[in-house]
């Protein structure tokens, strides 16, 4: 069992202060992410207000099955993530790794589904620009720009998250975590839940609202 005090960095008084600082730091970072995505949400609100028909047409052409499936996948990955954190608190290394690997697999699954979805959009000429499908109003292109930008930025965050979770899995395998020290798993968990929350809002905005408008 690693001695807890030895992993306390020298600027901190004790492990508790270090843990609190790290947690607060990650929450603060997530606030910056809210504002980062926020700019795109603002653009979405502005243009939905400006081009209701275009956005309605765009919403109708999103794939409801893929979108709903992906939402379920991410919600489940949040579950497996928090189970990993709980296992770390209980010092169950094998369980930690199992849950982290499940989270990784679900995240990967999300990206695979997204890949199918992007492929489908390309095939159906839903990429804005010269080749955009003439069946839709011109202003639907704005919907798809935002859709690609928002889901693309989200996907980048999923990939980063997968990297972080992989590192956590590797560290867990090397026995770095214990009941006294598992802060990295907790704060990666916070990040991952944020990624889930962004999608929780992207789902209705891109797939549901305006479907019947």
């Amino acid at each position: 069992m690693p001695e807890p005090q030895s992993i306390v960095a020298e600027q901190f008084e004790d492990a508790a202060q270090q843990c609190e600082a790290a947690t607060l730091g990650m929450w603060t970072f997530l606030v910056t992410e809210v504002l980062f995505f926020g700019g795109l949400f603002l653009a979405y609100v502005v243009y939905r207000h400006a081009y209701p028909e275009g956005f309605a047409a765009g919403s109708r052409h999103t794939d409801l099955f893929f979108g709903t499936l992906n939402t379920a996948i991410l919600l489940t990955s949040s579950l497996t993530m928090v189970l990993a954190v709980q296992a770390a608190q209980a010092n169950e290394t094998k369980m930690v790794m199992r849950c982290l690997l499940w989270t990784l697999a679900l995240a990967g699954g999300f990206l695979v589904v997204k890949g199918f979805e992007y492929h489908k959009d390309i095939v159906e000429h839903l990429v804005p620009g010269a080749g955009f499908s003439p069946e839709l109003p011109a202003r639907a292109q704005m919907f798809f720009w935002l859709s690609w930008a928002m889901t693309g930025l989200h996907a980048i965050h999923v990939i980063v998250g997968m990297g972080l979770i992989s590192v956590m899995t590797w560290l867990a395998r090397r026995g770095k975590f214990s009941a006294e020290y598992h802060t990295p798993v907790e704060i990666v968990g916070l990040y991952w839940h944020f990624v889930d929350i962004v999608w929780i809002f992207l789902y209705p905005l891109l797939y549901l609202i305006g479907r019947h408008a």
């Binding site: 843990c19 947690t23 504002l35 603002l42 207000h49 709903t68 949040s78 968990g189 929350i197 209705p204």
Partner: protein, 92 residues
């Protein structure tokens, strides 16, 4: 350190169940044309899902008030950006 007060695995599964249920509800409501209510329902359910994730998966419920303040600040500032900008677009 967060004090999670020995939360059991099954509790997290219950929260997950609630999230999937809400997903089903929001999918279901979207099958019908209810005008403005579609938007209200979808957004309300999203907020509910978000709250479940923040409070229980992110342990905000058991964290200090500072964390609450931080989480609130993020959304409050987003609200400022959306609201004040829309005062322009809605009054042109």
């Amino acid at each position: 350190m967060k004090t999670e007060n020995a939360i059991s695995c099954s509790f997290y599964w219950t929260i997950w169940g609630g999230l999937i249920l809400l997903l089903g509800v929001t999918w279901g409501v979207a099958q019908f044309n209810l005008g403005l209510f579609n938007v209200i329902a979808a957004m309300t359910i999203s907020v509910a899902k978000m709250l479940l994730v923040i409070l229980y998966f992110m342990h905000a419920r058991y964290s200090s008030r500072l964390i609450w303040l931080l989480a609130g600040a993020g959304f409050f500032w987003l609200a400022i950006m959306l609201t004040l900008t829309m005062t322009d677009y809605l009054t042109r």
